[in-house]
Amino acid sequence: MAHHRQSLNLQQQQQQQLLLLAFVFVLGFLTSSCHALYEDQVGVWDWHQQYIGRVKHAVFQTQGSGRKRVVVATEQNALASLNLRTGEIYWRHVLGESDPIDVLELASGKYVMTLSGGTNVRAWHLPDGVLIWEAAIPSSKGSNPPRLVALPVDIDNDKINDLLVLSGSVLTALSGQDGTTIWKVDISGKDVDIRDVIVATEELKAYGVGFIGDSGFTIIEIDLHAGTITDRKTAMTSETLSVTELLVSKQFAVVLDSKGTHLVTLSINANGLTVLETALSSLSLNAVGLPKLLPTKLDGAISLALGDLTAIVAVDPTSGELRTVETLVGAVAVSDSLSLANSKHSVAIIQLLEGGHSQNTFSLHVHGEDWTEVVQKETVKLPSHRGHVQKVFLNAYLRTDRTHGFRALVIGEDDSLLLLQQGEIVWTREDELASIVDAKSAELPLERDGVSVAEVEHDLAEWLKGHFLKLKATLFLASADEIAAVQESRLNQADKTKLTRDHNGFRKLLLVLTKSGKLLALHTGDGRIVWSLLIPGFRAPHGGPQVCPEKLLLWHVPHQHAEERPEVLVLGKSCSTSDFPAVLSWVDAYKGIELHTMKLSYPVTHAFGLPLTDSSEQRLHLFVDDQAQAHLLPGSEESLDLFLKQKDNAYFYEVDRTKGIIEGYGIKGLVESSRQTSSEGYLFETEKLWSVVFPEETESIATVATRRPDEVVHTQAKVLGNREVLFKYLNKNMIFVATVTPKSVGLLGAASPEDSTVVAYLIDTVTGRILHRVTHPSMQGPVHAVLSENWVVYHYFNLRNHRYEMSVLETYDQSRVGDKGVMQLMLGRHNASAPLSSYSSSNVEVKGQSYFFTYTVKTLTVTTTARGITSKQLLLGTVTDQVLALDKRLLDPRRSATPTPSEREEGILPLTDAIPISPQGYLTNGYQVEGLRGILTIPARLESTCLVFAYGLDLFYTRTAPSRTYDSLTEDFSYALLLITIVALLIAIAVTYVLAERKELAEKWK
């Protein structure tokens, strides 16, 4: 009997143990915190977009049975193969910054040949973009654009057609097989300047066409097999020629004379050379300003730009006589001639339709062999934010009825790439996003009453179902389909892409300004374009001076009146000259409409927002012109009153990198006359108060780092392990400047370690006081730096140890050293609320330490959070185009080899000579942000989280939580599991209660 009871108890014990185990198991699932990313989390809150940049060369590969594709080379030095049907990237290579692609050719149907800088010839395999060979041609004198001709013949008998490269004055024949030099010939002579090479296949001859001095043509005949010059012919002209542009075709060459009144034609035929000079006026072309030959390659014709006019002039190959065939007005793009199978040629002309301005409608004409014949005529309407067509590439295809149809690849004014076919836009690539100049973030509008969350998140049943599926997936019970459904729902969370503010502040608009003068708003949820605007105020008239967008300023950020719309101000400057008056444009950040634009009467050297806002929350801005005068905007009475109150405390500084000077200015009186022209801003006289002059021979400014103006610092004091307090020296006006030895600015090895130094400065910009100056001997730039709170971190190269180094400087206020304890911090004389003045004699203690670091850094920034409580992470753009997050604790100058127990308690790590890099520290995970240039950090409303947007050629967005998400549950937290557990526990309690009652009763009955 006793034994039975025993075994019963044992069973109960077992069951309890099992229950306990299950509970622990469940708890484990609930609390599992993720330190890295799991496979199924990719794309949940991050996105990655790939771009190529503004296309400058394009070649089509549409013959044969393979996939139809177009190979393009861009101004951002990218080479890519795009799917002609969808515009997707098949493969892409980004060449270095100093490796621009000058010529792009297809050879033998399966190779892509590129010529970079006249010295590097590369052959790429067309289907997969593998580099087959690379050949370096020794660079030779001459600044003419290099030429590459893919020969239709094989001259070294290896059954692969070869190449000719004209670089400077040297003509080189390269083997198509492996890029080895077959022969090389210097074709220069006295005064001879060869510009182009044409090939006569049947005769196996190449002809170099160029100038003799500035009043004659020369033609050199080269034997293709031997590589020897077989003949030289010259023809003199009576006019002096404009030698900047020479158009060469098989039978003629055309050039303008130096006065720009005549076209000089050279006809090349069997009898020799004939020169014919034709006055532009006789072609009924009235020159407005200097005419310009366009480098478009037309068959039997040339194109000219005369101010607003574009003229196409046909050339008679035998006599050299000219005839105007077409004059076009306004924004016109002419394609190169396209040769068709039956030795016919076609040219596409794309032109803005008359009266099509408001609609942005274009006509696309494809002219046949004879210029009078139009083989295809279409009208295309482009979205207004694409602007005018800048360039067109023509491609032909066979229609179902065996006639030729044409499609055109066009580049918009905004640098986007579009494929047009049958009057429709087949696809668009937003390649303007590859050249972001400045980026800012803006809040989304508040949730409207009409749209409630429940509507978007379906009903409760569906919500539960979703969570049940998730639970199943968590417990490995789900089928493959169900797992896919879970993943799908994760990636397409409806609330991720809503256009309203969310509670955590993850949904925002990223406002990006591109080089082409386009402002776009991207949604942080999925990276889609919410609106885009080609800023009308920046659009130059056809051939007019170009305005380059420079800076994005937050003009109006409503906090109190959240229903109002935020406004941004875009500052534009002339692309070429610095004394060109600046252009301002105000844009509504919700709708993407230009509110108004203004052409200032003064150039702007720099612009910044003041920490003052008027009653309508418009931020006051100061624009400094080239005379170092300050202009206050907005030009309202209220802003003037506000500013006059603070005038005596307003200072600004200017950095002159060429002279190596930093100058500080104070604001003096208002120029009364500017009250009349207040729309351009109130003008204030300024006074130079201080200057810091870096010794010219030994130091040149490498980098200047400033604090983010909107940075939030949580506490001024740092409580140490031994309960003492260190006061951070938090000077808002402190900047970091690093200088390097001018000799060592260039490449590595330009200077010896002995005379290469990096000097770091901390400067107060109100008084010009140098707070700290530290030299790092044997170091070399480039220096990258980031300044935040009371610390600065900078990165440079150590020439002695041949490694990169990172240094940290932290500033502490020693004048408050008396208030040691925490109590005194709160109640003492110099408590935390005492103001800090740049004029008070500061006693700053600077602690510094250096560490080795493995990588080259492209850009350096720091995370920001809403209230500055969360610890910070440094974000580094590495040379591999990834974003690496480093804990700031690794760069703490108080690290020592053997930290005391109290220091350990504080979280100080033991000192190491190098900063360790953890593979989990890469925020970009497996992606690369090709051509990484900048990282923007945006605080979310949730204190623990910081939003990170990295841009270069590609875009990448993610969130990071430097101290983990301590203030919210993770996304994959299973509410259903929690609910089920609670319910199960409640039931278990109830059941056990009843059972216990019963048992107790039974016991009592015994």
Binding site: G666, I770, P777, Y839, T912
Partner: protein
Amino acid sequence: MKTWLVLLFFVLGFSFRNVASLNSDELPQDDEEWGFVGRETSSRLGGGGIGGEKTGQGSSSSSSSIRNVGESRRIGSTMASSSTTSPSSLGVPGDKKIQFDLEHCFGDSEFTPAGSFSARLRTLPHGRQTLFKLRLTRNPFSELEEKAFKEIVQQNGFYKVRVPANVIDPGKAYVVAAVKARCLAAANLKERFDLNLDQGNVVGITYSSAVECTQNPHPQVFPSDWTFSSWIVTKSSEQAMRLIPMLDDTPLMSGEKLVTGEDGVATKVVEKNFWQKYWMYILPFGLIVINAITSITNMPDEPASGQAGAAPAGAVPQRISGAGGARRR
């Protein structure tokens, strides 16, 4: 009282710094040669001079000596400009006397000479140059200047000074600094120059009144005494500590071993013992074993009670409870 003490220490601290930065390795006869005996003490005390200012005496006499010196220096300056080197009279060969002007301006006016700095330049064996023993001879304000100064005090403007950026071979570049005229007036023209020097170059100057002036707006007062008392602090660059690669040569502790990672770097790893490695397997296994043992120890009892050895354990309690239930009923 305590705060005053702290302040005094603070000021003393500054004066010590001052002395330290002035390279106090000078020979006493140098001072005679430079005619700076009185000045020397006053300028040195200038650091402590704030303290002196508090006692209210001594400062006026010392500043008057500055003025005297200033006048005598101006005569000397013409001599010095004709020949700046006089190595014979100096202790260390290669030392060079140099002097450069301090210029000032009131608000928008042009810069005019306000005094001159004299210093010694030493060329070190490896070609580096250092400036030391910096002295300032201040010209007293002329009547016009006094008027101009009063004007900018009234306007709450800036009083600006400048020195050439390259003091050995002055070029066009000047280093400018400014102070609120009211601060300087309130401090009775007790000024302080912090010069950041780099070899023969002045990188930056901080010009301030020797008495802290943080009130805003500053009250308008005129100096009671129109003589300058200057306090000069020179700062040169700090040299960063050279980072030496740390070689991890501490001996291996017991239980540690070297493991070469993927990157080829050997790292110390504390080897886990058997229990640390496999506890997660041992523990459940142990539980199962214990369970099994207890059930086995229970089993031999069963045949002893006359039951079939293979009788299911579950049947027993059933029967018992059934019997019990019947009995209860």
